[in-house]
């Protein structure tokens, strides 16, 4: 049996009277891509926030490699190997591409409290950052200002930053958002290769990508998981068609 890397156990979160997460249990196993789909407002981003530490669940636990991380801060979870990309790019726009990945490498090294030595002179950090850039194919843009990158390139950079952390698991919220058909195709191919590095928990509305990538799919509606299964299970599940897919799939 494959190892479970990331797991939530019955996490719940309410905003006032609204139950955004209603006892959600979900797991991510080594080597897989596990997609979470669901209607708008179903609580997908809320779930991601709780997994990554931006929101504290009202009840339930988040486990990373078997260890309870529910009480840890975002930064602490990142140090334990949770790599994350954002629904809207969160990058230092004024800085160069290289500086953004260097930040990841610096975070991974856990040694930011050095005040006098030039960071660019740190070979170990530099190698790690360059390797991540190469992995996503941005090595030729290392000196480009991040603000000047195209949308798709920013997505790649986000992944590169996550890669520098050498994560145990990736958590991605709508990485395809805003990408054109072609961009989606490229990114799909890229994510496909990434699963060997670490499993991916993927929230996405782009069904072409989801169906192409996912090993398993969970469907979240009104804060509850209504189904989990293979692509074919989900595609044909009438409840899912009613709540989410409609006629499109």
């Amino acid at each position: 049996m494959t190892q479970t890397i990331l797991e939530t156990r019955g996490i719940s979160k309410s905003f006032g009277s609204l139950k955004a997460s209603d006892s959600v249990s979900i797991d991510l196993r080594a080597g897989e891509i596990h997609a979470v789909i669901g209607p708008n407002g179903a609580g997908k981003s809320t779930l991601i926030h709780q997994i990554c530490g931006g929101l504290r669940p009202d009840a339930g636990q988040v486990l990373l490699q078997g260890q309870d991380v529910t009480a840890l801060s975002t930064a602490a979870r990142a140090r334990k190997g949770l790599g994350r990309t954002f629904q809207i790019s969160a990058l230092a726009m004024e800085d160069s591409v290289l500086e953004n990945v260097m930040l990841g490498a610096l975070g991974a090294s856990g040694r930011p409290w050095r005040f006098l030595a030039p960071v660019m002179g740190d070979r170990a950090l530099r190698d790690r950052a360059e390797a991540a850039l190469e992995r996503v194919g941005l090595q030729d843009n290392r000196q480009t200002r991040t603000a000047a990158l195209s949308h798709g390139q920013r997505r790649q950079l986000e992944v590169a930053v996550a890669l520098t952390l050498d994560p145990r698991a990736f958590v991605m919220d709508e990485p395809m958002a805003g990408l054109g058909a072609e961009g989606s195709k490229t990114l799909t191919g890229f994510l496909d290769g990434l699963r060997d590095q670490a499993p991916i928990l993927l929230v996405e509305h782009d069904m072409d990508a989801v169906f192409a990538l996912a090993d398993r799919i969970s469907v979240l509606v009104y804060g509850r998981i209504i189904a989990t299964g293979s692509v074919d299970d989900i595609r044909t599940n009438p409840e899912v068609r009613d709540a989410y897919l409609g006629e499109s799939a």
């Binding site: 990554c52 530490g53 931006g54 801060s73 975002t74 930064a75 602490a76 990142a78 140090r79 790599g83 994350r84 954002f86 969160a90 990058l91 230092a92 726009m93 004024e94 800085d95 500086e99 953004n100 260097m102 930040l103 990841g104 610096l106 975070g107 991974a108 856990g110 040694r111 930011p112 409290w113 050095r114 005040f115 006098l116 030595a117 030039p118 960071v119 660019m120 740190d122 950090l125 200002r145 930053v161 996550a162 520098t164 952390l165």
Partner: protein, 326 residues
């Protein structure tokens, strides 16, 4: 457009050349003005670390400036009046030695910056501006009613404090001390910006969430920047007190905090030499305009307005182009 590094070198050379010329022409007051500019620049360099790189618009840096000033005032007051200072756990004679005073000023202001920072960093934006102001105002009002050390009248120190091997009463020698302190702070600032800490701080200003997701704590990064910043401004306060041989609550006033911010914006926010240009320009304007008319504030206001409207990014932005382009 001029390369920023050339401009920086020219500026420092200028700040050094002015008092040297003044020395030759026997115009000691020009040296005093240059010293004032250097000290204000030092204070603003300190603020710029928080404001320019950490994005922390502190409207309360007068607190640290004042703490530096009062460190000098109190230590020298006790030494000058031969009244030992009873700290409760120890009795201290006071001192007239600059290095000791500086140490006390830096340590005290760093400590206070730590406390203020811990509380203030819970807020952001304008709220941060105002909470830092609040803390500085508390110091201000405390100093005003602290009758033991002169209250609003402040403390006069009749003779400037000593520095081993120098005669600090000679204007050019005191200038050298201040100039050296400024150079040191600029060097530290430059190294800091290029260091791992600087990289992380820079990102923490722009996208705190990103910094968190790589496993770092943006609040702690900013806190450290705030402490370093406060310590440098505190040192400037001690020097300023020595320049005037006098401290008073006005060193804690919000005008001073505002003036430091103005210096930075005038020169260029987040530019290494921004505070230096700002201070040189401001002191010069104050001196030159004041000579023409008692209504010189109008002219100063008009000039500042001109800078904002026509020189985005301050004087350095005007000369060198926007940040990150050179």
């Amino acid at each position: 457009m001029i390369r920023e590094s050339y401009l920086n070198a020219a500026l420092l050379a200028g700040l050094l050349a002015v008092p040297l010329c003044a020395l030759l022409l026997d115009e000691p007051f020009i040296i005093t003005l240059a010293t004032r500019a250097a000290i204000l620049a030092l204070a603003a360099v300190g603020l710029n670390i928080a404001l320019g790189w950490g994005g922390l618009v502190s409207f309360g840096h007068a607190a640290f400036f004042g703490i530096g000033g009062y460190s000098m005032g109190i230590l020298a007051f006790h030494a000058q009046n031969f009244m030992p200072l009873d700290l409760g756990f120890m009795v201290f004679d006071g001192t007239k030695s600059m290095p000791i005073i500086w140490l006390v000023a830096v340590v005290l202001s760093a400590f206070v910056a730590l406390l203020i920072g811990l509380l203030s960093l819970r807020t952001s934006g304008v709220y941060f501006i105002m909470i830092t102001l609040a803390f500085a105002q508390m110091f201000y009002y405390f100093a005003i009613s602290w009758s033991r050390y002169g209250g609003e009248d402040g403390i006069s120190i009749y003779i400037r404090n000593d520095f081993p091997g120098l005669d600090t009463l000679v204007p050019i020698q005191f200038f050298s001390i201040c100039f050296a302190a400024l150079l040191l702070a600029l060097w530290l600032n430059a190294r800091l910006v290029a260091s791992p800490f600087g990289l992380a701080l820079n990102a923490a200003r722009q996208v705190p969430v990103r910094v968190q997701t790589v496993g770092l704590d943006p609040a702690r990064l900013k806190l450290v920047a705030f402490v370093i910043s406060g310590a440098i401004t505190g040192l400037a306060g001690a020097l300023f007190a020595d320049l005037n041989r006098f401290v008073s609550p006005s060193m804690f006033s919000w005008h001073l905090s505002g003036e430091l911010i103005v210096l930075i914006i005038l020169g260029g926010v987040g530019r290494l030499m921004g505070p230096v240009v700002g201070a040189m320009l401001f002191v010069t304007l104050e001196h030159v305009l004041g000579g023409f008319t008692t209504h010189w504030h109008i002219a100063l206001g008009a000039i500042l307005l001109g800078v904002v409207l026509f020189a985005r990014g301050g004087v350095i932005g005007l000369v060198c182009g926007p940040k990150g382009q050179s």
